[in-house]
């Protein structure tokens, strides 16, 4: 159970999909204008992520390696279609507000990324908790940003007016404001993860195979003589 909690915490904070892995930012920037939309989007994504993680993990030994990406897409698209149809039938208002971004969950980097990086290597139980953690991590960030943006930019919260008309800073609801809030949220999370005297060092979801990696990440470990000799062989 301890491991499960660690996986959950991983998705929420230390490997937060949006702020640390920087995946799925497009929908975060676009949907975080209203709290309602953000909540709907977050829950829809969490549902799809948990289901697809579980199914892909269960099928990981059946799926041939060469065509795994199409297989993942089929699984993910199935769940996205379910969400779409349910929302259209029962909450048409939210369905309309999310628009194209609901359908775009199919190609959301977080879901495909977790399928590739986690679900196809781990057990069904672990994958469930990874999907839950990552999904809630996404929901937490998008709702957090949307609370600020709706309150400051529009003066309302869940549609109720908090700040009187005429005292809004509209740029926060616009695209530049979205990027600004996104950057601030990232800075806040990283500052919170900094331990005293030790800077937080994000491991960007890699297996530490730095030898042939071109990413300029800070956690790069120098290639030792042994590995380079092995590479020569």
């Amino acid at each position: 159970m301890k491991k499960k909690m660690a996986i959950l915490k991983n998705g929420l904070f230390t490997e937060n999909p949006v702020l640390i892995l920087v995946l799925g930012c497009c929908s975060v920037l676009a949907i975080s204008v209203t709290v309602k939309g953000a909540l709907g989007m977050g829950l829809a994504l969490t549902f799809v992520l948990v289901c697809s993680n579980v199914v892909i993990s269960a099928l990981r030994k059946l799926i041939p390696d060469q065509i795994r990406i199409p297989c993942y897409i089929v699984v993910i698209a199935t769940f996205v279609t379910i969400v779409q149809m349910v929302l259209e039938a029962y909450i048409p208002e939210l369905y309309k507000a999310l628009g194209i971004f609901l359908a775009l969950i199919v190609v959301n980097c977080i879901i495909l990324g977790r399928a590739e990086m986690f679900a196809n290597k781990n057990t069904v139980g672990d994958s469930f908790f990874d999907g839950l953690g990552m999904g809630l991590g996404y929901t937490m960030v998008i709702v957090g940003i949307s609370v600020f943006r709706e309150l400051v930019g529009n003066g309302t919260l869940l549609g109720y007016r908090i700040i009187p008309e005429g005292y809004q800073i509209r740029i926060i609801t616009q695209t530049p404001g979205g990027f600004f809030c996104f950057a601030c949220a990232m800075a806040i999370l990283i500052a919170a993860l900094d331990k005293k005297g030790k800077k937080f060092n994000p491991q960007i979801g890699c297996d530490g195979c730095c030898g042939n990696c071109n990413l300029g990440c800070t956690s790069r470990t120098p290639v030792t003589d042994k590995t380079s000799k092995e590479a020569e062989k």
Partner: protein
């Protein structure tokens, strides 16, 4: 032979400091303030003072909070505050202006490391934030009661095609609608001449900017190219904003390219764009390419070997 002094460069020092330069800029901005009091009333003084104070306060609080050296003594925040105040209409609510000041100093300047590190002109970033946040307040141009002809009903830029050269004197005096610091051309030119005479700014950027605006407005078939450079914010921008040391190129060649680019973008936005005025976007866009202009126009040492 004991009187030889051995030291590292720089060997020539001048008495000029950031503070004295900024003081010169503030002095050069004063004629426009005096003119704006006559054109729009005493509220311009209030806006300018509040804006300058808010900028200084923001910088002080940020540096205090981060335990950095306090740099408000160099007066650069005062200049930012005055310039931002010059970019709002006289009817602007004070709290909105302070939001703009905070955006200018905290976001555009301090987040990037304070004076010398900002990659965009802070006052213009503040203006953009205000423009997008409070569009109706920012475009609520107040029209001086003293003026009686066409210019009293709209800013000159919106009715440029209906004007002829006889409107030139009125544009020079600045008795027409607009933001508080941009209307009086005589006052702005006076400040510009002072800055050039004091060698605070090089005339390269203002001249190339205004020249390019004139040229491209004419080439693109815009109305009244000559009046165009005397209306809107182009004069204020060319003299005081595009010449900001931090965000303009080092070399004269670079400055000419920078001014040319600013003029080109201003004319494109004015003639083809949805906005009446393109000065802000022009200068900010050119700010972004300044590092590349610097790289490409670097002075080669005499007799230096060219890299192959």
């Amino acid at each position: 032979m004991n009187e030889l002094t051995v030291s590292v460069s720089p060997h020539i020092r001048s008495a000029r400091t950031t503070r004295s330069i900024m003081l010169d800029v503030i002095l050069a901005l004063m004629p426009a303030l005096v003119a704006s009091v006559f054109i729009f009333g005493a509220r311009t003084l209030l806006l300018t003072a509040v804006s300058a104070a808010a900028c200084v306060l923001c910088e002080y609080l940020w540096e205090k909070g981060h335990k950095m050296p306090i740099t408000i003594g160099d007066l650069s925040a005062v200049v930012t505050g005055i310039l931002l105040a010059y970019n709002v209409p006289v009817s602007m609510p004070v709290w909105q202006l302070i939001v703009g000041d905070a955006a200018a100093i905290l976001v555009a300047k301090m987040l990037f490391g304070g004076i010398g590190c900002n990659f965009m002109n802070p006052a213009l970033v503040g203006r953009i934030v205000l423009m997008f946040s409070f569009t109706s307040e920012m475009t609520a141009y107040v029209f001086p009661k003293t003026s009686i002809d066409a210019l009293s009903s709209a800013t000159p830029l919106t009715v440029l095609d209906k004007l002829d050269m006889s409107a030139l004197p009125q544009l020079l005096y600045g008795v027409h609608g607009g933001v508080i610091g941009e209307t009086c051309m005589i006052a702005l030119l006076l400040g510009g001449v002072y800055l050039v005479a004091r060698k605070v700014i090089s005339p390269a950027i203002p001249l190339s900017y205004l020249g390019a605006t004139l040229l491209f407005t004419w080439l693109f078939g815009g109305a009244q190219p000559i009046l165009a450079i005397f209306s809107g914010g182009v004069m204020l921008g060319a003299i005081f904003m595009a010449t900001d040391y931090v965000t303009s190129p080092f070399t004269t060649k670079g400055k000419l390219i920078f001014g040319l680019g600013c003029g080109f973008i201003t004319a494109v936005i004015r003639v083809f764009g949805n906005y009446n005025e393109g000065v802000t976007f022009a200068i900010l866009l050119m700010n972004l390419v300044v590092p590349y202009i610097n790289d490409l126009t670097m002075t080669k040492p005499l007799g230096g070997v060219t890299e192959k």
